[in-house]
Symmetry: C2
């Protein structure tokens, strides 16, 4: 009888679930909505019920299940305690413990960005590296630090919060976190658009971007690839901030590689090449020549990484 | 028969040696000069001879010695390979292996700043913490990252190079490393003096510092404590840069505490209080409320930490 595990990624709008073989193969994946009512108190129950139903449908037996891994959008300490997942309405409690009680299966939990980093190391853009940094450029900017093949959690579950490294000390607008000048304000999908609009307003320069009604990070990269000067300037600024932030990260942990993921990373090698250009400008000589890889698992990185929390090294 | 070990700290002008009991007690310490002639090829031989002589003088037997720990001023990989210790004239070779051949004792090697961090964790300002960052403010600015009670080495031995985090993107003068705007340019003993002179030249402001012929970091702190406005401005700038750099470090590894050492740290709580003030201004809310401690082992941190490489957890 083959060992199986569930890899679960809890997001603000939906929960992604994956059923994995012990050898790492993904057998099945599906989604359920995230019910945030009543301080998110239904979420884990819905997940447990979905796991139960899947086992029934697939005629799986309890003894086959080696465990459940869960990624959540907030700080998680080593023992599985979440500390204020504001997106889910959660306070402080042990998510691993509660999931174990609901399902009877041993559970491990991690922060979603950290877990995504682990997934990319395992079967994605970071394959072959045991020490890497993943940066996820999406609605926000997430980060994960993998050392010796494992997630670095940090003393309060807040390691890898790369999106909140201050990269612009003059910025007056506030980040969602309340600070000013965070990387996330410049390198998230919304941040990229906001900064391009700022450039458009500041200059009278002609630009293809002026003709676009709903500006998106994709449109800005597309126009930059076509040589639109203001779009190029936007992309260069974004990559400069990313290069700076990653040079700071490197000075702390000296990783082998960086993996860039999230929707913005669809821009491809233009993005990684430019990040690397600025990275090398700001980093100590002994830390140059790192690999800059694109993530490969897309939205599945979270379920892969969660499964990897359970599946041995 | 009691187990003993040697903790050795190789510096640019002298080598410090310590003889430790297995329980961590320092029995004896002494120094020998660092002979840098012929690409530093005498250094390890001199150390081995000094170890031999100490054993003879103290009538120690080989079976008592559980090993030798060595700190060196440059990047050292996990297996003990040094990568260009420019201060010693060394190229690339395995210092742990060579020391073992010279003495017959098992040897472990680490970077000097990392080893100092380990020493402070063990018996200094970082006692009680297993996850901490040490910053040494001396001729340069060194850094060490301790996670789970062990040194984080990094993939090329360059983890913890906090002194070369870029903190000022407008700086035009170059750091010793060749980059511009490194923390070391502002927070080393020489950097503090240089920046104070810059402030003196830029303003016509009255200051006690104008009367001092050989300006030192100590004099600047002393004048700041007496309320001299320009000195206060110098100290605030220095602590702002340190606070910024440590906020970056925290976003990566989320440590429990920071330990500030090196000659500049003699300034005491004025220094740690101001660093903390700026740190909290630039760091994510989840990373606030870290401890800021002063180092306690002074120049012995290196021999303690080197011994700790050998003495079990």
């Amino acid at each position: 009888m083959e060992g199986l595990c569930f890899g679960i990624d809890i997001g603000g709008t939906s929960v992604k679930l994956g059923l994995f073989k012990e050898n790492g193969n993904l057998l099945d994946k599906w989604e359920i909505p995230t019910r945030k009512e009543e301080s998110g108190s239904y979420i884990l129950k819905d997940v447990a019920e979905s796991v139960r139903k899947k086992m029934e449908d697939e005629k799986l037996v309890k003894a086959q299940i080696i465990g459940i891994g869960i990624g959540v959008p907030g700080p998680v300490t080593e023992d599985g305690t979440v500390i204020n997942c504001v997106n889910l309405g959660w306070g402080v409690f042990n998510v691993a413990e509660e999931m174990k009680q609901l399902t009877g299966f041993g559970t491990k939990a991690g922060n979603d960005a950290n877990v995504a980093a682990l997934g990319e190391m395992w079967q994605g853009g970071g394959m072959g590296y045991k020490n890497l940094i993943m940066v996820t450029l999406g609605t926000g900017v997430g980060g994960g630090v993998i050392l010796n093949g494992e997630i670095l959690t940090g003393s309060n579950g807040a390691a890898g919060e790369i999106g909140h490294i201050t990269v612009n000390y003059e910025e007056e607008d506030s980040c969602g976190c309340g600070k000013q000048g965070c990387l996330e304000q410049f390198a998230s999908a919304t941040g990229i658009v906001k900064e391009a609009k700022r450039l458009l307003n500041q200059s009278g320069e002609l630009s293809k971007l002026r003709g676009i009604q709903h500006l998106s990070a994709k449109a800005i990269f597309d126009c930059a690839k076509e040589g639109d000067a203001l779009s190029v300037k936007s992309v260069e600024q974004l990559c400069r901030y990313l290069g700076i932030a990653l040079s700071h990260v490197a000075a702390v942990v000296d990783p082998q590689a960086f993996v860039i993921g999230g929707g913005v990373s669809k821009a491809g090698s233009m993005l990684t090449d430019l990040i690397k250009k600025y990275y090398e400008q700001y980093v100590l000589f002994a830390l140059k020549n790192k690999e800059f890889k694109l993530a490969r698992l897309g939205n599945d990185a979270g379920i892969y990484g969660s499964a990897k929390l359970i599946i041995g090294k």
